[in-house]
């Protein structure tokens, strides 16, 4: 877990008491967050949790009702004017009738100390698309062009709102590889995502938003530890829930045919007792609770599609499932 007070002075991002209401809807309801330079932070939450609103306020696109945003010690507007923030917003945000090279070149021309266009295109892995019109690109390619647009100002802070939304698995992996090149140079990244796998693999720190508030904040290991316990799975014909509940530390029992699934915060003891009492049990697995489970627990059993009408990408590749 990071300690906000120690990094606040030289922080990349400081959000204090941030609130934004739309009518009756409390989109963001008191968010405090300090991000140190060089951190890669994943912002997670169901649809409608306030991720995009938080990102918009951080970038200065939306004015908070109350609270303050500081980026490298100044306002978002100043940070933007100094080219210190690069951002990939949700949605289209490209010109159909301009080529990739023209688009990135024009954005570069607006900044004082931009990267060379070729460099930005290489950083996003799209050098070969420079002369392509933006309306002739696939969804994944468009995202990469927008990544190049975000990169070209050579920013210290990169903010990505659902950067891999339109990408297939392969493109997504390539995207994160280009992303790692960027972060190894010590720059700060904040990305909002639906994909817990991305947070697990690429973030130093995860921040869970639910109903406009931060419900968990820490390293992936730290956050999953908040929901202590492990899952024990085994095949055990004839088991009864009543008996299994008596095993040490067992909080939940799920019986599906011959298969039993136990959640326990004393899994070692529970397993020993289980084997002593039921030597016939086989195919035993013990797994740590993953980010997804932690997420579901911490957001009050919300699912990632909770509260939003937009279709939600499924969780992917979480090894605990």
């Amino acid at each position: 877990m990071t300690e906000p007070k120690t990094v606040a002075a030289g922080a990349a991002v400081t959000l204090t008491g941030l609130r934004k209401h739309y009518g009756e809807v409390r989109a963001v309801d008191g968010v405090d967050l300090v991000i140190a330079p060089g951190e890669v932070v994943a912002l997670l939450g169901p649809n409608g949790a306030g991720k995009s609103t938080t990102v918009d306020m951080l970038l200065g696109l939306t004015r908070p009702d109350t609270g303050a945003v500081t980026i490298f010690g100044s306002s978002p507007g100043n940070a933007v004017a100094d080219g210190r923030i690069g951002a990939m917003l949700q949605g289209g945000a490209l010109l159909d009738d301009a080529t990739v090279g023209e688009t990135v070149g024009m954005i570069a021309s607006l900044h004082r100390n931009p990267l060379r266009v070729a460099e930005a295109l290489r950083g996003a892995g799209i050098e070969d698309l420079a002369n392509r019109r933006c309306n002739k690109l696939s969804g994944g390619q468009k995202q990469r062009v927008r990544f190049a647009v975000a990169l070209v100002s050579d920013p210290d802070l990169l903010v990505l709102d659902e950067p891999t939304a339109a990408m297939d698995v392969q493109t997504r992996r390539e995207f994160w590889l280009s992303m790692q090149d960027f972060t190894t140079s010590g720059r700060t990244v904040l990305f909002a995502t639906h994909y817990l796998e991305e947070a697990e693999n690429y973030a130093d720190r995860v921040v869970f938003l639910s109903k406009g508030r931060i419900v968990a904040d820490g390293s992936v290991a730290g956050v999953t530890a908040l929901t202590s316990g492990r899952t024990i799975k085994a095949v055990l014909p004839g088991a009864t829930g009543h008996a299994l509940h008596k095993l040490p530390g067992v909080s939940e029992v799920d019986i599906r045919g011959d298969r039993i699934i136990l959640s326990s915060n004393e899994s070692d003891k529970a397993l020993r007792t289980l084997l002593a009492e039921y030597p016939q049990a086989y195919d035993i697995e013990v797994t740590a609770i993953g980010l997804e489970d932690a997420f579901l627990t911490l957001t009050g059993h919300a699912t990632l599609s909770d509260g939003g009408s937009a279709p939600t990408p499924p969780f992917e590749g979480n090894e605990t499932r």
């Binding site: 970038l59 933007v80 690069g86 917003l89 949605g91 945000a93 009738d97 024009m106 021309s109």
Partner: protein
Amino acid sequence: MSIGYLVLELRRAMRSTRFVIFTVGMPVVLFLLYVGIWGKSDPAAPGVIMVNMTSYGALTAALFAGSRVALERAAGWQRQLRLTPLPGSGYLAAKGITAMALALPGVVLVPLIAALFEGVSLSPDEWLRVTLGIWLAVIPFAVLGLLLGQIGTAESMQPIMSIVMMVMSLLGGIFIPIDGMPSGLLSVAKLLPSYWLTQIGRGAVTSDLSVGLGQAVLVLAGWTLVLGLGVVRRYRRDSARV
């Protein structure tokens, strides 16, 4: 102001075939057509038609440029630009300058064809009034385009533009020459900036139904001011809300 931004704006607009057809092709074709039909009836007619078609091409180009703002807003491009050092005033100025640049080809081409092929003959300062004058007089339309672009959505822009174009060109005395208008219609025309736009050139080709240049300039300046305030207000509100 950013030159890089302006250059890309111009290049993009020139790529649109719709734009080239409507702002350069149409006015020239219509000019030749109308002169063919009515040109012989009155010696002043070719000149008046030239002024009206020049005005038509210029105002179409100016409005068109601004209407593209609606598409950029819908695509989130305006938001992306707000994450660059380009200030809002720079964005609006570039759009306005683009609109004016796009109005230029028609303003040159129609009078040129009128002079070369239809025997319209004017003194140098009258030519200046028909070309440079009409070009400058289209400023309020560039601003109007920006305002509509800030108000309309990507879907509603097409119908909005059609209605505005129709009102401006039919009732403003471009397609229905004011010479043939009943007095009731003429007083409606005077409420529209397009009437005053044609008046900038009309005085150079006929004294019939012409108003003084000073008066026309003043009315158009008033329109520019009012519409300009509208654009600024709307842009500020938009930026605050999004």
